[in-house]
Each structure stands twice: as structure tokens, then as C-alpha cells.
Amino acid sequence: MDESKCIACGACTEKCPKKVVDTYNAGLAKRKAIYVEYPQAVPLKYRIDPEECIYLTKGKCGTCKKKCPVDAIDYDQKPENVTLDVGSVILAPGFEPFSPAGLDNYQYASHPNVVTALEFERLLSASGPTHGHVARPSDGKDPKKIAWFQCVGSRDMNRCDNAYCSSVCCMYAIKEAVIAKEHAGDDLDCSIFFMDMRTHGKEFERFYDNAKNKSGVKFIRSRVHTITPLQDTGDLELRYVTEDGALKTDVFDMVVLSVGMQIPAELVSLSNKLGINLTPGNFCDTGTFTPVETSRPGIFVSGAFQGPKDIPQAVVDSSAASAAAAELLSGVRNTRTKEKELVPEMNVLGDRPKIGVFICQCGINIAGVVNVPKVVEYAASLPYVEFATDKLFACSQDAQDSMVDLIAEKGLNRIVMAACTPKTHEPLFQETLTNAGLNKYLFEMTNIRNQNSWVHKNNPELATEKAKDLVRMAIAKVAMQEPLKETELDVNQTALVIGGGIAGMASASSLAKQGYTTHLVEKGSRLGGQANNLFHTAKGESIPEKLAEMVKDIESNDRIKLHLNTELSNVDGFVGNFVSTLSSNGNEETLDHGIAVVATGASPYTPSEYSYGSDDRIITSLDLDKKLMAGDPALKKLNGALFIQCVGSREPERMYCSRVCCTHSIENAIELKEINPDMNVYVLYRDIRTYGEKELLYKKARQLGVIFIRFSIDNKPVVKTENGKLTVTVTDHVLQLPMELEVDLVTLATAIIPNTDEKLANFFKVAINQDGFFIEKHAKLGPSEFPTDGVYLCGMAHYPKPIDESIAHAKAAAARAVTLLARQKIFSSGTIAQVDQANCAACGVCVSICPYSAPSYAEKGRFAGKAEVNPALCKGCGLCVASCRSGAIHLKGFDTDQILTQIFEMDEAV
């Protein structure tokens, strides 16, 4: 397929005689041998499956070549080897889902109603084979009972070799169950069979709680051994043992296997070729303090190849890997940039509109349904239309060239393009206007393909009428369009990082290495934050040693200006042009900066539960780290040590998991066992959440003899000191009986609580969630930035996280910031709000309503006190325009008159 020619009309697919299994829909549907992977594919280009194509496999057929209107089919294309000179490489090869086909006890290979979670995902999807209606594969029946099995291909060394936890399956299973219930209604019975429920992500614990208590999803702690199909019915019988040891039998309509992630064999051999080290689970080996660096310098890694992870974490990693590569390559930034020559813009302000209308045939895509000549003829008859014509393919290079000529020849000053969708093609046509010396906003595109000919193909006459209406509406609108200006704004090249903990330091270091002067502000008297209290990482690295290296790196970097004992007392300005006031011991100085990174961290919770404070043998995790760091000789003499998990976390008033405490306690339990193998070490927990390869630590702890006892939130352990004896009473989950444990040390794994800073939130106009953490731009796709332009977020101010994730997040925030800094200048869009200040009543509704803080009160001049909109901040949503009671705000390009004229022209009888 020649991608430069393919217009994604789909004529090839329609006529292709070869049907094959649709892998995108997890094998649940068929597609053709020439196809587009999925409808949202970008770029939208078709491709030939060389293993299935009849022409490529047998030398006959050639139907698609005959049907293609633009001659894009090229059967002779061969794979090419391309040699690139690069300064660094980023590996983002992903993972493969575990295949349960070999697990005969689960009947996946033999029974259609046993599906993987990925297959179920396609069943739930509106673009999937059932359009989002969950139907049982065997008979299309609506299922009434669905079971999910967790840890299929994860945390399992018996039936597969994947000892690690895949991190994402608990959450996706809950999501699938909730969505299935939302679609099917309350009578759908969803049960999730699990070992430990691992909802350690931001907002996940609350989602889990709502799934259980509001949506009515059932959670059953049991690993089902066998599925028995009931003959002819399609139903599946499960036998499992409940927590109290009772054997149960239940029948389900469908079973969903929550399959884990694994690294494909070819990736292992690629890694060998590249000479990079892998972990025991075949993931790419990285250090805690270098979370995106492979063992080979210059090669970086992101995504699930670095370890099983969800989307936000993969997005963070990918930004972090780009920062790591940019640190290496910042010296050559922009050395291969080419400048475009600009055609001077004609001044058409005040000229009578002379509209050119172009109707695209899109081969037969539009012309096969819509009577294009009729639409052209009709358009030519409308007011202000100077010229109307059709184009076979308006987006082709020759059509673009001829448009440039026609604009000059006919003196056109407004253009209407009736074609596909502005979402993909508006920028292309606007560039044509620019090339013709016409302001690119003197343009209106109307959609007569995706929203007309493609969806009304059986009603050519009605589609033609609709096309006429749409063209008339577009002409009326463009006639009222004015040339718009894109305001240019310089970006101050200085960065400000707030918070001198691990995240703040890592972010400042990355920004400085990428060439930017960075001010690092820390309110305390030393760098390091909470990491000063930590002993070693889950991978065994010494935190004090690594921290000292980081601090030295910061202090010796000339580009980093360190401000200890300093806080922000004011922030003015906006993206690219902030002015902050730094206060230190009563002295104030102002700082101009282009961007800000918020890395204000979090703090340990001081417990009131479990008799904390009444006895110095009851301590917190950080207290134990201190003892371990100091090499406290008393530790060796302990006969019994006990850890209590979830102290202050996962409680109704703090409905989140602190993410690090399970791993932290287990590390320390192992440490104690290694100091004294005879010590009795107990961990009392609710769910063990050693996600990813941290699971191996959990396994090691059990092998060393650490005893794990589960308790439930409504039956918590009781810690008592009597006659000098420290005892803990807990109901054992296997025996269902209370046990009394006499120990010498109780360690409380306390929650991580946010340093909620409302002042800072107000300075940068960013939001805080109900738990007190900052809210990022987008939970999945924008985890390292705020909705406020030029302000970035990392570390525990976002959510509790271990050091490796904090450093990756910090680098990610730096990468996001550099995308702005490196541009040096930013241009506002032309389609933004503007205040007609003479009509402004200064009521302030726009100022209070704007999510981007674009409107403010003018400080000086004739209209002081009236609203004005900062073009750099305005996103052009129009909220202020719609809410202005005086009609004083205008949205350029979508002004009230322009929308009203479209409404008035909607249905003129022809």
C-alpha cells in the first residue's frame, strides 16, 4: 500500500474476497485480507495482510488494485532496511498477554464461553464485534452470571513460569465487571475470584469499594481449580473452596480469565542482541535511581517491557525515557530543524466576501452517493459565492496547487471545503490557504463524507439534500469570518521546581542537564525529603548512599540555583511568563520563570491506633528503618517481630492504598530474618500488594519463614502491653480462631498522607482531590502535568509511590516542561475569546467560570476593572461567551452571529 496515495475510502476492503480472523477483535470477528487495523487508526491508511492476501500468496485476484480509485495498491512493496544514525534508542516494545490455551483445567482452548479478559474487553467495546452488548460466544445469549478468575498466568510457578504479579489485572477485572453490570443491569451477577485484591493506583481503592458496595460486584477470595462444562447448555460449573474451608459448586454462563502480561520470546532474543540485561521475569533490568536506563548506556526503556504496569505508569515512563535521551542529546537540539518560507498575507479586511466553494468527490466515496455536480451548481447560486467547483480528491497535491492558483485568479477571500472531516483535514487545507497568502481562518470545512455519504449510502437523494444544506450553512458562516491573528509569546527559559525531595531533585537535575537554568526551592533546611528516613530499596540499593550522590549532583550543577529554607509567597503571570515571589527568613525576591514543577511530596501518618505512643516497642515503618540504618544491636536479640499493614490506609476516611507499605514491610521482614533467622516474624495484612516483580520479595519472605496472617477491616488485630509483655491478638484467616502472639517489636505500616498545600494550588490555579493529592491533567494520558499550562506535577504530591516511580515521574515532568521550553515562543490559537470592553459590565462571571483562568480584570487603561482575556491561556471553549450576560465576549471563529446564521440556514426549502 502506498500510504501517500491511500485516502482510506475502504473500496478495497469492501470488495476483497478473503475473510480472515480479526486479531484486533481478539479473534471474535472476521476482517478482510486488506484492512485497517481499527477505525480510530492514525494515520487512517489501509494495509494488506501478506500472509492472507490471495494475490500475494497465490498470484491471482488483484481485486483491490482494480477497485482502488487512487492507484495506491502496490503488490511489489518489499520490506526495506533503513539505517539511521541516532544518539540514543528508546525501547517501548510492550508485552504479550499470557495465553491460557495450555491450561486444560480452565477449558479455554475447548470452550467458547471461557474467554480472556482481552476478548471480554472487545465484547464490551462499542466498536467491538457485538457493539458493546455482552453476548455469550457459544449461543449469543445474554449472560446472567459471569465469573472472573484473577492471576491467570501471573503469580504462578506451577502452571506457568510467571512468578511476578502483572499489576493491572485486578483493576481491569473490576472495571470490566462494573461496565458489564452498567450495560446489562442489576440482574447480571458478576463474581471476581481472587487471591489478593491489588488496587494500589490513584483512585483505584475507591473504585474497588464502589464496585463492592454500590455496583454489587461479588469478590470471592479463592483460586478456582477446575471448570467443568455442563453438557449442551454452554454453562460452566466451578468448584471452589471458600475462606472458611467449605467446598462450593456454582454454575456460570461465562468465565473471563484475567490473563497477565509477559515478555514475548522474540523480545528476549532482541535484548540479547542489544546486549541489555533482563530480570528473572524477562523484563528489562533497571535501577531504582535510573528507572528508564537499560544496562547499556544510551539505550532507554519505557512501558511494560520495564515491568508490568498500567497506562498512566507507561505514559510517565515514556516521557521519562524521552527526558533521559534528551539529557544526553540536548547539545544537538534543533540542529536539524528546517525553517519554512512564508508567503506574505493579503489584507482582505473590509473586502466584500468572495467565496470559493470546493466540493470533494473523494473518488466515489462522496460522488458515489451525493450528486456532486448538483451541489456545485447549487453552491454557485448562493450569495457571495464567486466560484464553485468539484475535485476528484481535494486533498491530493495537484488539487491543492490548483486551489492556490484559483484563489489568485478569481480573487477569492473566503474558502468553503465540503469533503471529509475537519478533524483530520482542516490543517491541510488551511496550509493551502496560507500558501495562497490568505489568512488560514478565512476557511470553513463541512463534512459531507464521514457524516453524510458514508452514513446515508442507501439514500442518495436525501444525502444530496443534506450536502446542499451543509454547504449553505458553511457558506453563510464563512461569509462572516474575519482574518484572525495568532498571538506570539516568548517563553522564559528558566525553570522553577518546588520541593527538594527525590522527585524535585530528579526533575531539577533533568531540566538542568537539558540546558535550562533551574531554581530548586525547598522549604526545609536540607535536600532529600522523606528519602532521608529510608534504609534501602526493594532492589537492595542503599538509599543513604544514592541520596548523597543525588544531593552532590544537585549542589555541583552550575545551572541549578538552590533555595533552601524558602517558600513561595506569591505567583503572578501565566505560561511562559510566571513571576514568583520566594520568601526566605523574611527576605523576599522575585523570580521570572517560564515553567513550574510541583514536587511537594507527602508525609508519614502519625497513628493513633494500635496503642502507638504508649510503648517504645510499638513503632512505625520509618522508625524501624532508622534502627536498621543505625545498625541497632537490639534488633538481633528480638524473639518476635510483627508488622501491621494498612495503618491509616484503606479506611473510610482515607480511601486509598499507600502503595509502598506492603513492599516496605516485607523488605524489612526479610532484613530481620537475615539478621536473625530464628526470629519469629509476622506480617498482619489485608491484601498483600507486592505488584510487579516485587512479588518475588513476597515469595522470598515466605520461603524465609515469615508468617503472613490476614485480617479484615472489621476485625482488626489488638495490640496490648500487660506486665511488660507485648501481645497482639488476631483472628487467623485459616483457623478462624483468635491467636495471641507475644512479640518484642510491633511495626505499624503507616499511611502516606499528602502535604495538602492549598496556597500553592491557588497560586497556580490547580485542583486537589478529596484525599488531598493534586489532580493531574488527565488520569491516564496527562499524569505529569496540570491543566494549567506551564505547570507540571511529579512524585508523591500526585500519589504515594516508591522511589523508582517518583524518579520516573520527575523526569516525565521535566520532559513535558521541555516540550514547552524548547519551543522558545508559543502561538495562541486564532479561535479565542475576546472581550468587547465597552459592553462589559464587570460582573466577573467569566473570571470565575473559566477552567483555564484566561479572563481577568484589566488593571489599567480606559477599561480598567473590565474583563480581558489572555490569549495565551484561552483554549477557545466558549464557556465565557455563553455565560456573558452582556453579550460582551466574542469567540473568534465561532461567534454567536456565525452559529446563529448556521441555524437560520439549516433548512431552507430548495
Binding site: G10, V455, L891, F894
Partner: protein
């Protein structure tokens, strides 16, 4: 189709519903043609004025989606 089809004017947000309407086309779904779409930059742009104007203009239904 029935004799009398209602005239529907829709205001679709550029970022979601307008894209979804495009996707319906890419997926070759079919729906009745008695709908006209006005693309708006965000449903925040929506004003009661537009809805009233549409009804005054003879629309039988107005659909705002975003």
C-alpha cells in the same frame, strides 16, 4: 422511512461527539439523514439562544452532545 421525519439540529463538541460522528462514518454505520450538525468548540459554547433559534427555525428536536 415514515412520511414525516422530525428535523433534528445537533450541536456536537469538536473533541468528542463530533469525532464520534466521524467514527460512525468510518465504521459505515447508517442512520436517518434528517439531522444537521453544527460543530462547536466545546459544549461550554452552547447557549440557550441557539436552542430557541433552532426551534423558531422549525427544528423538531435539538440535540446537544459533548
Amino acid at each position: 422511512m415514515a412520511e414525516k421525519e422530525p428535523k433534528i439540529l445537533s450541536f456536537l463538541c469538536n473533541w468528542c461527539s463530533y469525532g464520534a460522528a466521524d467514527l460512525a462514518g468510518v465504521s459505515r454505520m447508517e442512520y436517518p439523514s434528517n439531522i444537521r450538525v453544527i460543530r462547536i468548540p466545546c459544549t461550554g459554547r452552547m447557549s440557550v439562544k441557539f436552542i430557541l433559534a433552532a426551534f423558531r427555525q422549525g427544528a423538531d428536536a435539538v440535540w446537544v452532545s459533548g
